[in-house]
Amino acid sequence: MNERKVYPTYFAAGALFLYVILYVFPGIIGIGYAFTDWSVYSKELHYIGFDNFATVFSSNYNYTRYITNTLTFTVVTTVMKNILGIGLALMLTKRIRFLNFHRAVMYVPSVLSALIVGMIFRSILNPKVGLLNVTLRAVGLDGLTMQWLTDSKIAFRSVMAVDIWKGMGYIMTIFIAGIMSISPMYFEAADIDGANSWQRFRYITLPMLSPTLAVTTVLNVIYGLKVFDMVYALTNGGPGYATEVLYTGVYKEFGLGRYAIGTALSSIMFVFMLVVGYFMIRLLTRNEESLA
């Protein structure tokens, strides 16, 4: 049977075409535009070398802060979602009542739009009438009430916390699938050897979950670096630049008509993700190598 004839490559042409024109091509020409003075006012473009990148990395502006904030967000949410995700998965693979109900409820925030979750939490985190502060006052913990989204010291933590709240159920679901795929034989053997529950977790569950952990980490990192919705809906980068991440920064530059800076910021991310992304994709597709 002739593979090429039976499975004509042009079947892939439609997907490839759309993907290249609307996804890859803008990324590549974006790098080109990053070396120009492109703005909403410019009639023609001029090559200005690395000026835009010099601006981005200069200490006179806040752009480096966007980048460090993005990285902080990525690391913190990835670590927390993994820890909480494993914790929840361990709990929801035990014999407890309403197991499926609990699992479904934990997952619900993941299917909601980040924009809507952001709006709901703008109400909950409102310093005066928000549910969180009201509850804290009601139980006498007045000292813990805070200006969750407007105090520049804690606003970013609040944003990350809401994002963790939204995303941990998704990570939990993946870990549950991971835990269920561990052969019960290991646990039976451990029981015979008299292992306690911590030892079972430390020497069986955790090592067996390491491939799953690698995947959830990849997914969290991809999400974290590209985050926009949650920050936009909760604080829109404020107060000041306290919660500004790369993509809210790009959107602001776009709004101000400073296209060249916007595309320079995007291009830094593009090149970074291309390199990191290649290894991430190899990890995600590793199961297929044996199939192909």
């Binding site: 609307l22 809507i116 709006m119 998704y170 991971g178």
Partner: protein, 275 residues
């Protein structure tokens, strides 16, 4: 020993209920306040609505928020991209998985790399203008398709690998053309993964608002998510109306989630766990 075990199990059950409560409270909060008067909703508390349920919030918000149009827009964008994504990614994943050459492997990795790739919105705008897709409904549908193709191809690809080639050979011997082979033999076998792709693409498109934010200038083309946010900006003091708007926007998502829960989980965990 037995009582200790019982206590422990009770403790775990209680923690699970407490955590579920934490996940549910924000949703309950919105639901309750959507039935209150504007004054009663102003402090956004968990108090039950007094003086009956104010269903008129819903009719009011449907008029004021122009929810009829935005619902139609969301439905159009979601179903349009679902249709295109399913057809294009199934075709691509199928031939890329079946052909075992280096070129095909390369094309596959090239497409799947899009899962991690960030979008450059600024230069994408340039491309949208050049292709006359800026500010058009078809443009936004094509964009949603393009950005979701990589993940959909990834999902379907590994599924195609599990379908034995013998079936194809038998069909070819019986005189199937390539298109016929795909359409009447392979496609029906892909049904489970295609349902997953449909559910995920629908939900993602419904929830997304960044692309319309950049590429749809006129509010008459906005999807529900973006419209609800805009409504929130205008009626920030009327939490009852904002809540009703949120409920209506989330409702389709919740329905699809409840119907397709199994498929969502299947898709979300694909590739994460060795099968």
């Amino acid at each position: 020993m037995k009582t200790r075990k019982r206590l422990r199990s009770l403790g775990v059950n209680m923690i699970a209920c407490l955590l579920s409560l934490i996940m549910l409270i924000p949703i309950v909060l919105i639901l309750l306040n959507s039935f209150k008067t504007s004054q009663a909703a102003s402090d956004m508390s968990l108090a039950l609505p007094v003086g009956g349920l104010h269903f008129e919030n819903y009719t009011l918000v449907i008029q004021k928020g122009k929810l009829g149009v935005t619902f139609f827009n969301s439905l159009l964008y979601s179903s349009g991209s679902v249709l295109l994504c399913v057809i294009l990614s199934a075709l691509a994943a199928y031939v890329l998985s079946r052909n075992r050459s280096r070129l095909h492997r390369f094309i596959y990795v090239f497409i799947v790399l899009g899962i991690t790739m960030p979008i450059n919105f600024v230069s994408l705008m340039k491309v949208m203008q050049l292709t006359l897709l800026q500010n058009t409904r078809i443009g936004i549908i094509l964009l949603y398709t393009a950005i979701q193709l990589p993940f959909d191809v990834f999902l379907i690809y590994s599924f195609v690998g599990k379908i034995p080639r013998d079936i194809d050979e038998a069909a070819v011997i019986d005189g199937c053309t390539p298109l016929r082979l795909f359409y009447s033999v392979v496609l029906p076998l892909l049904k489970p993964v295609l349902v997953t792709v449909m559910v995920l693409t629908f939900l993602n498109t419904w929830n997304e608002f960044v692309l319309p934010l950049y590429f749809l200038g006129s509010s008459s083309m906005w999807p529900m998510t973006l419209a609800v946010y805009n409504f929130f900006g205008m009626y920030v003091t009327d939490w009852n109306l904002v809540s009703a708007d949120i409920v209506l926007t989330v409702l389709p998502v919740v329905i699809v989630y409840l119907l397709g829960q199994k498929h969502i989980v299947a898709g979300m965990t694909a590739g994460a766990v060795k099968s």
